[in-house]
Amino acid sequence: MSPIHALAAAGGNSPSIPAPHVEYGQLSPMLVVFGAALVGILAEAFLPRRLRAATQLGISLAGLVGGFVAVVVLAAQGHATTRAGLLAMGSVAIDGPALFLQGVILLTAVLAVLTYAEGRLEPRINGHRIDAFAAQAAAVPGGEQERTATREGLRTTEIYPLTLFAVGGMLLFPASNDLLTMFVALEVLSLPLYLMCALARRRRLLSQEAAVKYFLLGAFASAFFLFGTALLYGYAGTVRLGEIADVVAGTAPVTPALAVTTQNDALLLIGLAMLAVGLLFKVGAVPFHSWTPDVYQGAPTPVSGFMAAATKTAAFGAMLRLFYVAFPGLRWDWRPVMWGVAILTMVVGSILAVTQQDVKRLLAYSSVAHAGFILTGLIATDRRGVAAVLFYLLAYSFVTLGAFAVVTLVRDSKGEATHLSNWAGLGRRSPLLAAVFALFLLAFAGIPLTSGFTGKFAVFQAAAGGGATPLVIVGVLSSAIAAFFYIRVIVLMFFSDPQPAGPAVAVPSALTATTIAFGVLVTLGLGLLPQYFLDLASKASLFIR
């Protein structure tokens, strides 16, 4: 019983509230990251401008790597398996999936932050290195203020603490064991992202538009999530996932109130559906995907990469926990619905991507399609499914990050040249980069010997094992369609003649190079020798309740 219940039981007139017991050790990953974020704010406030960029990068890397180390240590101590447990009065669960996903998110974040700091791509402005982010976000685009800011080579270093906060939220999201924590985590990860979308240095109108769209729709979605929470609370009288499961299963002690509310399944089912809406929005599943292309296109490319990779990971983590911990009993209610969503997502995502002309939008739609593939794994509703989803998220994150990092390098005078026509003949001019991007595309397409194939195989196998054969068939067919547009890009890069005034490929610093290299490494590694990570995923595939 949580203290709140105790209070209620005590009739509310005993003032003594026992101090909650918090396992700081096991929460350390999040704490470290949040701490770093706060330090970042302070640095932002007190450090002189010229020092900020470097310091912020340092702080963020320190925080993220520290967090990752903490995750590894926790996992090593067996908190992923034997010593997995509920923390902070049961509001946070540290178990296999949580730690695995936190690890993935942190690694992704590290690489993303590296791409933030890339200063070689934009031409120097009177000696100042500048990056992909607005000189002064508050300044009106094209206004005098912005021009001066640009001239002084200002940089929006706030991006770093914002990212850290978002990462903190993402770490909490898949680990949150009650709906309240989940809601808070959702907002904590979303709000910074809204802002980060608005921070592009070039094409600021698009950037701001992306932000406003993302914000309004995000808020809309979280409203649904919250109302769903309310309804579920109404049904079960609690927001703890585990306890909800008990109530659903009918194993919970029946209070008179419960006796009344549990009569009304509508509460439960509608609540479930609305929660699902909130999460499906974050993972970008059809029909809640419409924001993805616009936001991915408008946001600064490094941020798009970060969002595409990390947000999806976190959101799927939360979804897994919600469905596997709170509603295993309702499997027969939500599985068919999820079938529909998955099929719709795979098909619509793939088909819409076929006619895209902008690389970032293309990647956005492909991320939608992939959300569909991951959902098929989620529908398996068994450990194999969980493991498959975890592995897929791992594989997918790094490919996505790498792909967006490559996008940042193909530039012309107006910044990144994201229109596909500009990519014609890239393979002739810079074969290496084109080859790398082709590798990522092939991984997206799920060609064997790349991580994409292993992941796809895992989820499809899990789905088939779970008796969702039709899903698998739809899956393979839509991957065939998906292959079509990945191939189109490859054709464009290698087989068509370059435009005379086509874009140049900027030579990145070690930062972006590291990200891309890591992406390639993981893509091939998980394609050729996936065994270790598959083991890791399946070890980490058990939820604590």
């Binding site: 195989f457 087989f495 083991d535």
Partner: protein, 536 residues
């Protein structure tokens, strides 16, 4: 455990990486070193393949020289290799053809002036590296005794093949050659990818079914044994579905009518060497896989669908030949001829008689050799005149008799003239089919007339008659080109007169396959006392 097989696959793979990494540059010297290295690698592979064939005992176990390394334990996947008679024969074919293809395409990857400044400096390296990559993957798929491993390389080989088709066309294309080429490449890839993905579903399905019955493995011998011993029982419906899943992929790859339309584009637009790689090597993986996987894993379903498949292949035989007759483009004609031939191969496989299947296997090898000869000579011809249109040629035999002669031999092999290798296999397939399905067998024999038509028409129109001014002064075959054609012609003759080395290798494997599907040859109505040729 011997490492011969893995070595055979590894050498070209490593060679591919090395070749790709060789110093770039458009200088002639740089290019020559690249080519030399690649050729050396392929020859080394040939040596290893020969070693495999040598150490293979026809009488022995179905799979020999087996190796197995745990790859993905979670899915019960081992990187398992093993050579059986059929696989070994095709490994030899591949290893023999690749060096010749390289030699034939010696200058195909030299930067074309047309593509000028944007031309990648790594063009030559890329071309030869890709060929080696294809070889490596093909070899693995011929030797894999693990369904998953086979699938992976079956799929993966599409990518280098795709770049070969799309990246390096013959210089005979029209103004929109580049567009045509990339269209062909995309078509090739999407067709085969679709097939592969459908197969993926079937592979997963197979694993799920097997795992449910405690056979959580992709190991082919294990699965086939479990099936034939009844330890693993796939219910008919599932079995049919899985069979179709596998067969679809192989039928696209083979290609079988009506899934063939990618082949003419691919062979037409790519260089002659690449075309040979496609039709003589890569496509064989498809027919090979029908024989090894479809029949081995789904015996009952195979028997259920055999008649339908036979009809389709029969259509393919006649259809391919007729369309070939109507072609205006030399390479497309060869492509359609190949479609007709693949009809024969598939027919032999699903006739489910020892003659049919041994014939089909020999057919794969012989068709590889003869078509290679025909296609490569055609390539030499085309490279001289810069046109693929039959109408642009005439009277070549006057100016280039050797070229014409070899081209004729290629054509005669294609129409399977007795004494040349293809005759042996074609007749075996026909007899094998006839003994079980007389009507189909008889109709199929029309194919030999049609084959004569397209082969000789092509020869007549290009080589005979008055010398067209467009071909006057056309040089005869050069030493390099002779070096390419001579071994092929020699092999065609040798295997036509003395095919025993192959049959000895293939027959046991075929008998094993037949026992897997519980089929025996239909007995003659009035068997003669003394066996056929046996009279001393």
């Amino acid at each position: 455990m011997s490492y011969l097989l893995s070595a055979t696959c590894a050498v070209p793979a490593v060679g591919a990486v090395v070749t790709a990494a060789l110093p770039a540059g458009t200088g002639e010297a740089r290019r020559r070193t690249t080519k030399a290295v690649a050729l050396a690698v392929s020859v080394a592979t040939l040596g290893l393949a020969a070693a495999v064939a040598a150490s293979f005992e026809p009488g022995g176990a179905r799979y020999q020289l087996t190796e197995s390394y745990s790859w993905i334990r979670s899915f019960g996947i081992d990187f398992a290799l093993g050579a059986d008679g059929i696989g070994t024969a095709l490994v030899l074919l591949t290893a023999v053809l690749v060096p010749l293809v390289m030699l034939a395409g010696w200058h195909d990857a030299d930067p074309a002036a047309a593509e000028g400044s944007f031309e990648s400096k790594r063009r030559t390296q890329g071309f030869f590296a890709l060929i080696l990559a294809v070889e490596a993957m093909v070899l693995v798929s011929f030797l894999a005794t693990d369904v998953f491993v086979f699938y992976v390389f079956f799929e993966a080989m599409l990518i280098p093949m795709y770049f070969l088709i799309g990246g390096f066309g013959d210089r005979a294309g029209g103004p929109d050659a580049a567009r045509q080429r990339s269209y062909a490449a995309v078509k090739f890839l999407l067709y085969n990818l679709l097939g592969g993905l459908v197969m993926l579903a079937a592979v997963i399905g197979l694993y799920v079914v097997a795992a449910d019955q405690g056979q959580a493995t992709f190991g082919l011998p294990a699965l086939t044994d479990a099936i034939s011993s009844g330890k693993l029982v796939i219910d008919p419906t599932a079995q049919r579905a899985l069979f179709l899943g596998f067969f679809f992929a192989f039928a696209v790859k083979a290609p079988m009518w009506p899934l063939h339309t990618w082949l003419p584009n691919a062979m037409g637009e790519s260089t002659a060497g690449t075309a040979v790689l496609i039709t003589a090597v890569v496509d064989k993986v498809g027919t090979f896989a029908m024989l090894r996987f479809c029949l081995g894993l789904f015996p009952d379903a195979s028997k259920t669908f055999a008649p339908a498949i036979l009809v389709l292949s029969l259509i393919g035989i006649v259809y391919g030949a007729l369309v070939a007759i109507g072609q205006k483009d030399i390479k497309r004609l060869v492509a359609y001829a190949s479609i007709s031939h693949f009809g024969f191969i598939i027919m032999g496989i699903f006739a489910m008689t020892s003659q049919g299947q041994s014939g089909a296997t020999l057919y794969m090898v012989n068709h590889g050799i003869s078509t290679a000869a025909w296609m490569l000579v055609a390539g030499f011809l085309i490279s001289r005149r810069g046109s693929r249109l039959i109408a642009d040629y005439g009277g070549v035999q006057k100016v280039a008799p050797v070229l014409a002669g070899t081209f004729l031999i290629g054509g005669l092999a294609t129409l399977s003239l007795p004494g040349l290798a293809p005759f042996v296999s074609e007749f075996l397939v026909l007899v094998g089919t006839f003994t079980r399905y007389p009507v189909i067998g008889v109709i199929a024999t029309f194919g030999i007339v049609l084959a004569a038509l397209y082969a000789l028409m092509l020869y007549q129109r290009t080589m005979t008659g008055p010398v067209k001014e467009s071909v006057t002064g056309m040089p005869d075959l050069k030493a390099r080109e002779l070096a390419v054609v001579a071994p092929l012609v020699a092999l065609t003759l040798l295997l036509g007169v003395y095919p025993q080395p192959l049959t000895r290798m293939v027959n046991p494997a075929v008998d094993d396959t037949l026992s897997q599907v519980h089929r025996t040859d239909p007995a003659p109505v009035h068997p003669v006392a003394a066996n056929g040729g046996e009279q001393k």
